[in-house]
Subunit: 481 residues, 2 copies
Amino acid sequence: MSTLCRAPSWQRRGFSLKYILFTPKPPTRAFSTSPRGPGLRSLELDEPRLKKLKVNQSRLMDELHHTCQWGTGERWGEQGTETGMRRLSLSDADKQARDWFVDATKALGCNISVDAMGNTFAVRPGRAQGAPTFAGSHLDTQPSGGRYDGILGILAGVEMLRVLQENRVETAFPIGVVNWTNEEGARFPISMMSSGVWAGDIPIGHAYALQEVGGGTATVKSELERIGYLGILPASYEAMPMAAHFELHIEQGPILEKEEQKIGIVKGVQAYRWYTVEVIGQEAHTGTTPFGSRADALLAASRMICASHTAAADHGALASTGILTLSPGSVNTIPGKVKFSLDIRAPSDNIIDKLEKHLKSDFDSIVSTESTKALPLSVTWQTDSISPAIHFHKDCIAAVRASANSVLGDEALSREMVSGAGHDSVYASRRCPTSMIFVPSRDGISHNPKEYTSPGDCAIGAEVLLQSVLRYDGLRSNVGN
Amino acid sequence: MSTLCRAPSWQRRGFSLKYILFTPKPPTRAFSTSPRGPGLRSLELDEPRLKKLKVNQSRLMDELHHTCQWGTGERWGEQGTETGMRRLSLSDADKQARDWFVDATKALGCNISVDAMGNTFAVRPGRAQGAPTFAGSHLDTQPSGGRYDGILGILAGVEMLRVLQENRVETAFPIGVVNWTNEEGARFPISMMSSGVWAGDIPIGHAYALQEVGGGTATVKSELERIGYLGILPASYEAMPMAAHFELHIEQGPILEKEEQKIGIVKGVQAYRWYTVEVIGQEAHTGTTPFGSRADALLAASRMICASHTAAADHGALASTGILTLSPGSVNTIPGKVKFSLDIRAPSDNIIDKLEKHLKSDFDSIVSTESTKALPLSVTWQTDSISPAIHFHKDCIAAVRASANSVLGDEALSREMVSGAGHDSVYASRRCPTSMIFVPSRDGISHNPKEYTSPGDCAIGAEVLLQSVLRYDGLRSNVGN
């Protein structure tokens, strides 16, 4: 069952989209309630007209910082906006931000639906019924996060709705903005949780039962109920189908800044695998044990960490170790056991497969080289997470590319990229055409109070998002779905 | 003021040794109170007679295991003696073991002195007054220690006294056994604490004020008082001079076992230095940060650990890292800070100097190679501990060598060694001629419940200790001091 509930009763069930999806021709009844008087139809939005649809940079930034009053985090500078964010999913601060999102989009003529995971869909009607083309991201943050990750994508979506309204644009099909619940996985430890439920990849019972980290007893379901965002719309791509999903996001890496480029045209998300590697040696006294009689688990682990970087570089991939623990942990005792995390990433699953094989062989060589006859070392691998490579849809990528070129006026100012991090677009892409738009992150920093993207870059990203959504709507209009 | 108190009032001050030290000729009054009837004088102990002085292996081992009833530790095997030890310094269990030591040595005709650090000196009179030749070690253990480290040295000393008694040996000068307080530094965190005070290298006020680790409020002084071992003899080499100090100890390493040898003739103790090395990089997302934009503190630290081993091996030295901590400690965040311990050891201070210089240069190269222009890495060194190389006395080493050859009958069964670990003999050697005797450690394991030396090897070691002390006494007798 799918539901679109009209303002002000956004919690009330409305009509079913289920039977009217992908109508082959524009229906006779249009949903053009918001544009007043004669406006532009997306079909009529040729290049010159698209270029005239300008994002209001001040309004965008003022509203972004306005929403950062809910869940303000650590201060890092003297300006009023120089604080980070701590807006954990389903917290009181998250509820306030969600309420703002509902009110703002309702005021822009949207119908609001909340699904059983609290995913909140604001849909602006088009001329024809049909699955909306969405801009989406998330309003929750890391406990020590910043003002841009996720937030910018939602605020740019709301700005898109404002630009459509003030220019009285009538789109072929509905246009939506979605705020996904618990993308960060910081308070409830599954990231991209609710887009995952929507996509059918994470069972809703599993998500509901998740307890908050840190020893509290709140669960996802109890908190959804508490803050009033346990919607009645099933959390499913069948109940809330999307024609496409576009996500504006900060890069969270240094490439755009380093290359002095403004837009990343995101072709997909790299594959990654997470492992825990355990090396077992033998504790021994550092002063009385010659090298030839040692089974030094930390020396072996150090060689493995070095080897993982060399091999990853050779494969055009990444390898990183973020956690390392050892025992017993005494200055004059050679560690007998070391555990470390290994995170490998590459643009394709094939490279990941090859790299994993290469590293298993390398690590085996290291333990056999380091082992003495009397004291063998051993290494074991545990696979903690597998995330295959995601390839976004060519039509969405083309829409982003055309939009970037239009907004920037210079192909050299954008580049194709593969996202290194996961986003809600990963799950969205499993059920609808998807792409993402990256804007520069200062110093490549994210998940940090100092995370920063300049107002100009935010506005450029928002304008590329706006154009991408309209171009995709125009494409559907041209092909009739 | 020095004090030797006679049994039973071993806490009462006796006569002062201060004015009768190192008398140039044998005095007329002999202290031969313990040997009954005609016995052997050490001067008369030629090789055949020395060889006849046999340690009683069963008695030695029975008594050693008897004393392990105080502070029994973790069980590791099914036999009654297959447990480790947990006899922390100045604990109730330590008091019980000390009481046994006092009673046992008093019963063997010794005068007992306890100094202000609880160091307990059992002295068997000789024909002449003068500083005693000591066998010494310690009865305290690590919290998860074994039955041999320290304990064997004391028990072999007591067995030595028994052999002297049953063979009615009259030595030229007094012979002593010393139980040093808190050699392990496990409960009160300075190792070789009270031999250090005796040697004048550790101020007594500093030692007294040490609090027990783990948050308790007991201090060294309060615990000495509580268990009744705060003696009135000043803790000083001037108050309790030693003619020589011999220490039997388990090797705590694998060399003797590996080489199928029975005795290590310990020529000295290697130099060591302890450092804390801190590497500062930049936290970044593992998925979004290309290798060229990283300042990975753990990768740099791993390269340093590998480099430290290579350089140490090149210098004939050792390098070990036993502690490593990093932050922030998340699978998908590149560590921005790593701290690790570095323990380097070598037979000479000169090699340590060269190795330190080499490593500082290596680590600087690593940070500059790993640094990107935008994100530099840095490394800082903190020196935590400096222990210069110790060279034992040639006369003591010669006594051990001659004794080992006599007991083993084959030069190939002993080897000269440098101790990798610190021992009370380090401080003793600063104030009197010193050497040590090592016996094999099974699998090189120590500071572990499974620490083990066979009864036969314990007895061989005890016999070499006995002979070494007698040979040294004979040497003094020959040269008249």
